[in-house]
C-alpha cells in the first residue's frame, strides 16, 4: 500500500464511557482503501469498545469517526451498517433460533458487489453440510466461519472482525488466515482486532497497539522486525 491511497475510515480523538467508567481516552487511527489493519492489545485495552463505537453501539462517546468523508459518530448502528461497514462481533453472535441458512442470509444486502452464497460456501465448505441445522449447534470453528461468511454477502466494503481466532484450534486459525488473505485480495478493506500477534503479524499491512484506551504505538509491516520487544511489552501479561 502506498501512502497516497485514500483513507476509508478515520478515528480522531475518540473517548467512550460505559456508565461512569471511561473505556477510551482519545483514540486515533485510520485505515486506507484495501488495507488490512490490526488493533493489538491486551484484554480490557479498549479494542472491542473502539469497534463498538465505530458501529454506533456505544452511545456515550465523543470524537470524530469519519467513514468515506462522512462523520458517522452520531449515527445509529443501522445507518452506519448501510454506509458499507460490516461487523463480525466477538463471541461470534450466531443466532440459536435461526438455522445456518437463515443466519447466513440474515444481514440485508446494502450494495452491489457482495459475494454470492455459493462463493461463501466455497470458502467454507463445512457450512454446506450443516445448512439446515440450528446456528448454535455448530462447533466453535464452524460458528466462526458462519459469522465471517455472513457479512460477506452484503456488499459492504469495510469488514470489521473482533478476535476471530479466539478459542479456536490452530488448524482453524490457519484456515481463517487464508480466508482473510483471500478477502484482502478481493479488495475488501479489513479492520482486525487481535490478541494473537503471530496470527496478525503475517496478515496486516499496519498495526496499531492499543493500551489504556488509546493507540500507543503504530508499526507498518516492515517495521515489525526491530520492534518485537516493544510489542511484547504491550501484549505480554
Amino acid at each position: 500500500m502506498t501512502e497516497t491511497s485514500k483513507v476509508v475510515l478515520d478515528i480522531a480523538d475518540l473517548h467512550a464511557w460505559y456508565g461512569e467508567s471511561k473505556a477510551l481516552h482519545g483514540m486515533n487511527f485510520d485505515i486506507r482503501e484495501g488495507e488490512l489493519v490490526t488493533l493489538l492489545g491486551r484484554n480490557g485495552a479498549g479494542k472491542t469498545t473502539a469497534l463498538r463505537c465505530i458501529m454506533g453501539l456505544v452511545r456515550k462517546k465523543t470524537g470524530v469517526i469519519t467513514y468515506r468523508g462522512e462523520n458517522v459518530a452520531a449515527r445509529p448502528p443501522e445507518i452506519i451498517a448501510r454506509r458499507g461497514i460490516a461487523y463480525c462481533p466477538e463471541e461470534r453472535g450466531i443466532f440459536s433460533s435461526l438455522s445456518v441458512a437463515e443466519n447466513l442470509e440474515l444481514p440485508p444486502v446494502i450494495a452491489k458487489g457482495g459475494m454470492t452464497v455459493d462463493e461463501i460456501l466455497e470458502l467454507f465448505p463445512n457450512l454446506k453440510a450443516r445448512w439446515q441445522s440450528p446456528g448454535t449447534k455448530l462447533s466453535g470453528g464452524e460458528q466462526q466461519m458462519l459469522a465471517i461468511g455472513r457479512i460477506l454477502r452484503t456488499g459492504a466494503k469495510l469488514l470489521i472482525f473482533d478476535e476471530p481466532t479466539e478459542g479456536l484450534a490452530p488448524v482453524i486459525v490457519k484456515q481463517i488466515a487464508v480466508v482473510l488473505e483471500k478477502l484482502k485480495a478481493r479488495g475488501f478493506t479489513i479492520l482486525l482486532v487481535e490478541q494473537n500477534f503471530r496470527f496478525a503479524a503475517k496478515l496486516a499491512d499496519r498495526h496499531f497497539v492499543v493500551d489504556h484506551g488509546k493507540v500507543v504505538e503504530r508499526f507498518s509491516r516492515d517495521e515489525l522486525a526491530g520492534n518485537e520487544a516493544k510489542i511484547q511489552h504491550y501484549l505480554g501479561v
Binding site: P76, E78, P89, L98, E105, L106, P108
Partner: protein, 649 residues
C-alpha cells in the same frame, strides 16, 4: 350416542358447549398469539391487550353507526367486512403510537415497569370507555352474508361461528408461518436474541419493534371485530379476558408462538367441556390447569427451559438514611397516629392504616425480594371474607375471626408461593395474577360469600371481651396498634439475617445460591410472610368497615397495592405508608369525579412509571444523598484549600 347417554349428557348440550368452547378458544388463540409475540420481541407483558381488543369491537360498532354519530356529515354506515379491514389497521396505528410515546421508554428498565405501564394504560382506556358507555353492552348484528346456520344432524352450526373458527385458525397459523418461516420472521427472531447485533447488520430494530407491537395489537383489534357480533360490545369485554390470556400464555410456554395458538384453542375447548360436566369450575378451570402445568412442566407445555431471569432490583431505599430508621419512625408514627383521629375523620385514618399495612406487606416481597407479585388481592380478600363470615355467620369472638382470616391467607400464600416461586420477573407476575383469579371466581360463585352483595353488616364485637369495637375511637386505636406492630415486624424482618439474605437474593441471586443459600426457600418464606401480613390487613378491613366484598379479591386491589408501593417508593421503609396516605387522600379528593377515578388512577400509574420510578421517598432519598455528597465534596475542597494555604505560607 349411546355412550353419551351413559354419562348422562344430552349430545346437543355437549356439542353446543364444544362449539362455544371452540369459539372462545379461537379468541384465546388470537389474543395470546399477540401477547406472546409482543412478549417474545419486546419483553413487555402487554396488559393493555384486553383494552385493545375492546377498541377493535368498539371500532366496528362505531363504523356501523357512523351516520348516527356524525349526523351532519352524511357518512355511510360501514359494515362488517370493511370493518374487518379498517379497524385492525386503525388499532395497529394506535398501538404504534402507544409504543412510540410510552412503551419504548421502558425497554431498558426492569420487566415490572412494562407491566405497570400497560396496566395503567389499560385502566385509562377502559375507564374512559366505561365513563361513556357504562356496563351496558352495545349490540352488533351478525353480517347479512353470514347469517343462518347448517343443521349437522346432531347439532345446529351457525355460519358466523364456523367462520370465526376458520378465520382464527388461518390468521394464527399464517402468523406462525410468517414468524417461523419467512425472512421478516428471521429478523424478528434474531432481534429477540441480540438486538444490537441485528442493528449493526443494518436493520432498523427500533422500527421493527414498533411494527411488531403494532402487529400484535392489530391482532387484538381483529379479534375485537370478530367478537362484536358474538359477545356484547362493552367497555369491560377486555378486562376479564386479559387475565385468562396471560394464563394461556403461561400454559403454552412464554414466548412460544405455537404454544400460544394450540393452548388457546385447547383451553377454550376444555373450558367448554367443563361447562357441561362441572359447570361450577368452568370459570377457574384454565387457572387450575395453569397451576398443574406449573407443577409438572414449569416452562409451559411448549416452552423451552430458559435460563432464569434475575429478580427485579427496583428498590430505591438507601440504608443508613434517617428515612430508613425504623425505631425513629415507629416513635413518630405512634405519636402521629394518636394525634391523627383528632385531625382527620377516624374512618379515613383507619383506611390509611389498613392500606399502609397491606402495602408494607406487599413491599416485603416486591421491594425487598424483588418478585413482582400481582395477586395480593387474593390474600387480602380471602382473609376479609373468612373474618367477615366467622363474625357474621358463626358469631365467633373478633380476635378469633381475625386469626382465622390470617391463617387462611397464610395458607393460600404458602400454596401460591410454592407454585410460583420458581419463576421470576414478568412470569411471576402473570402466575400470581392468574392464581388470584381462582380465589376471585370462587368468591363470585360460593354461596357463603353472597356474590355481588358481599358479606355485609359484619359485627365488630368486643376485642378480648373487653374493648368495645363498635366505638369508632376504640376501633381506631386497635387498628393503630396492629399497624404499629406490623410496621415493627416488617422492620425487624428486613434487618434480621433473614432480611439480609433476601436483599442478597435481590441483588444477585446466582451469587446467593453459590454461597449456599437455598434461595427458593427464602423467597417462599418471604412470600408467605407477605401473604400473612396482607391477611392481617384484610381481616382488619372486614371488621372496620363491617364488609367483605368482591372488590377486596378483585385484581384492581392487587393493582392498588402495587400503585401505593410505587408512589411511595419501592423497597423503602416509609414508601408504603406514604403511598397509602397519598392514594387514600387522592381517592377521597377524586370521589367527586365518579367513574373518572379509574382513568385518573391509570394516568397516575403511567406517570409514576415514566417520571417517578423511585417514588416519593426514593426521590427524597436521592435528593438527600446528593446533598450529603455535595457537602462532603465541599468540606474536602475546603480542607484542601486550607492545606494549600498552609503550604504556601
Amino acid at each position: 350416542m349411546a355412550m353419551m347417554d351413559l354419562i348422562g349428557v344430552p349430545p346437543a348440550l355437549l356439542f353446543g358447549q364444544l362449539l362455544v368452547g371452540l369459539i372462545n378458544g379461537a379468541f384465546y388463540a388470537m389474543m395470546s398469539l399477540g401477547v406472546a409475540i409482543i412478549f417474545g420481541m419486546l419483553r413487555i407483558g402487554n396488559f393493555v391487550h384486553g383494552a385493545q381488543y375492546m377498541l377493535g369491537a368498539f371500532g366496528a360498532w362505531y363504523l356501523m353507526r357512523l351516520p348516527e354519530l356524525f349526523p351532519g356529515l352524511g357518512l355511510p354506515s360501514i359494515g362488517y367486512w370493511w370493518a374487518l379491514v379498517i379497524v385492525p389497521l386503525v388499532v395497529a396505528v394506535i398501538g404504534a403510537l402507544m409504543e412510540r410515546i410510552f412503551i419504548r421508554r421502558v425497554y431498558d428498565l426492569d420487566h415490572a415497569y412494562g407491566l405497570l405501564l400497560t396496566v395503567g394504560l389499560a385502566m385509562a382506556i377502559e375507564g374512559a370507555f366505561n365513563v361513556y358507555y357504562g356496563a351496558a353492552g352495545q349490540m352488533y348484528g351478525v353480517p347479512e352474508s353470514l347469517k343462518g346456520g347448517i343443521n349437522l344432524g346432531f347439532m345446529f352450526l351457525p355460519i358466523y361461528r364456523a367462520w370465526v373458527i376458520a378465520a382464527a385458525i388461518v390468521v394464527c397459523f399464517g402468523t406462525w408461518y410468517m414468524v417461523e418461516r419467512t425472512k421478516l420472521g428471521s429478523y424478528l427472531r434474531a432481534a429477540t436474541e441480540n438486538p444490537d447485533l441485528v442493528r449493526a447488520f443494518g436493520i432498523n430494530v427500533p422500527r421493527l419493534l414498533m411494527l411488531t407491537y403494532a402487529f400484535g395489537v392489530g391482532l387484538a383489534g381483529f379479534a375485537g371485530v370478530m367478537a362484536a357480533p358474538i359477545y356484547q360490545v362493552s367497555p369491560q369485554m377486555g378486562q376479564g379476558i386479559i387475565i385468562t390470556i396471560f394464563a394461556v400464555v403461561v400454559i403454552g410456554g412464554m414466548g412460544s408462538i405455537f404454544g400460544a395458538i394450540v393452548s388457546g384453542l385447547m383451553l377454550g375447548v376444555i373450558e367448554g367441556l367443563t361447562k357441561v360436566f362441572y359447570p361450577q369450575a368452568s370459570a377457574t378451570v384454565i387457572f387450575i390447569i395453569m397451576a398443574l402445568v406449573l407443577i409438572f412442566r414449569p416452562a409451559g407445555l411448549f416452552g423451552k427451559e430458559t435460563t432464569s431471569h434475575s429478580v427485579a432490583d427496583v428498590s430505591s431505599g438507601r440504608s443508613g438514611s434517617f428515612l430508613e430508621n425504623g425505631r425513629l419512625w415507629l416513635a413518630i408514627f405512634t405519636v402521629g397516629g394518636v394525634a391523627l383521629p383528632f385531625l382527620v375523620y377516624p374512618v379515613m385514618g383507619m383506611k390509611i392504616l389498613v392500606l399502609a399495612l397491606f402495602a408494607l406487606a406487599y413491599n416485603l416481597i416486591f421491594g425487598y425480594v424483588g418478585l413482582l407479585a400481582f395477586g395480593h388481592a387474593a390474600f387480602y380478600g380471602a382473609s376479609a371474607y373468612v373474618t367477615a363470615h366467622a363474625a357474621a355467620a358463626w358469631g365467633l369472638p373478633t380476635e378469633l375471626c381475625i386469626l382465622l382470616g390470617v391463617v387462611v391467607a397464610t395458607a393460600i400464600g404458602a400454596l401460591f408461593g410454592w407454585l410460583a416461586i420458581r419463576r421470576q420477573g414478568l412470569y411471576f407476575a402473570m402466575i400470581t395474577l392468574a392464581l388470584a383469579q381462582i380465589i376471585y371466581f370462587y368468591a363470585v360463585q360460593a354461596p357463603w360469600t353472597h356474590g355481588e352483595d358481599g358479606i355485609q353488616s359484619v359485627p365488630r364485637g368486643t376485642l378480648f371481651g373487653v374493648i368495645d369495637l363498635s366505638n369508632t375511637l376504640n376501633m381506631y386505636f386497635v387498628t393503630l396498634a396492629v399497624f404499629l406492630v406490623g410496621f415493627a415486624f416488617v422492620y425487624r424482618i428486613i434487618h434480621s439475617p433473614f432480611g439480609q439474605t433476601l436483599k442478597s437474593i435481590r441483588e444477585n441471586e446466582p451469587r446467593a445460591i453459590s454461597l449456599g443459600y437455598s434461595t427458593d426457600r427464602f423467597k417462599l418464606i418471604a412470600f408467605t410472610l407477605s401473604a400473612m401480613l396482607s391477611g392481617v390487613a384484610g381481616a382488619l378491613k372486614a371488621i372496620i368497615f363491617q364488609l367483605a366484598s368482591l372488590a377486596d379479591v378483585f385484581f384492581m386491589t392487587s393493582a392498588d397495592v402495587l400503585l401505593m408501593t410505587l408512589i411511595g417508593g419501592v423497597g423503602t421503609l416509609l414508601g408504603p405508608v406514604v403511598g397509602a396516605a397519598v392514594l387514600v387522600t387522592l381517592q377521597r379528593e377524586l370521589a367527586t369525579l365518579g367513574a373518572w377515578v379509574v382513568v385518573v388512577q391509570g394516568i397516575i400509574f403511567v406517570l409514576c412509571v415514566l417520571f417517578l420510578r423511585k417514588g416519593i421517598i426514593g426521590t427524597l432519598e436521592e435528593f438527600l444523598a446528593n446533598r450529603a455528597e455535595r457537602k462532603v465534596q465541599q468540606t474536602a475542597d475546603r480542607s484542601e484549600a486550607t492545606t494549600r494555604i498552609k503550604v504556601a505560607q
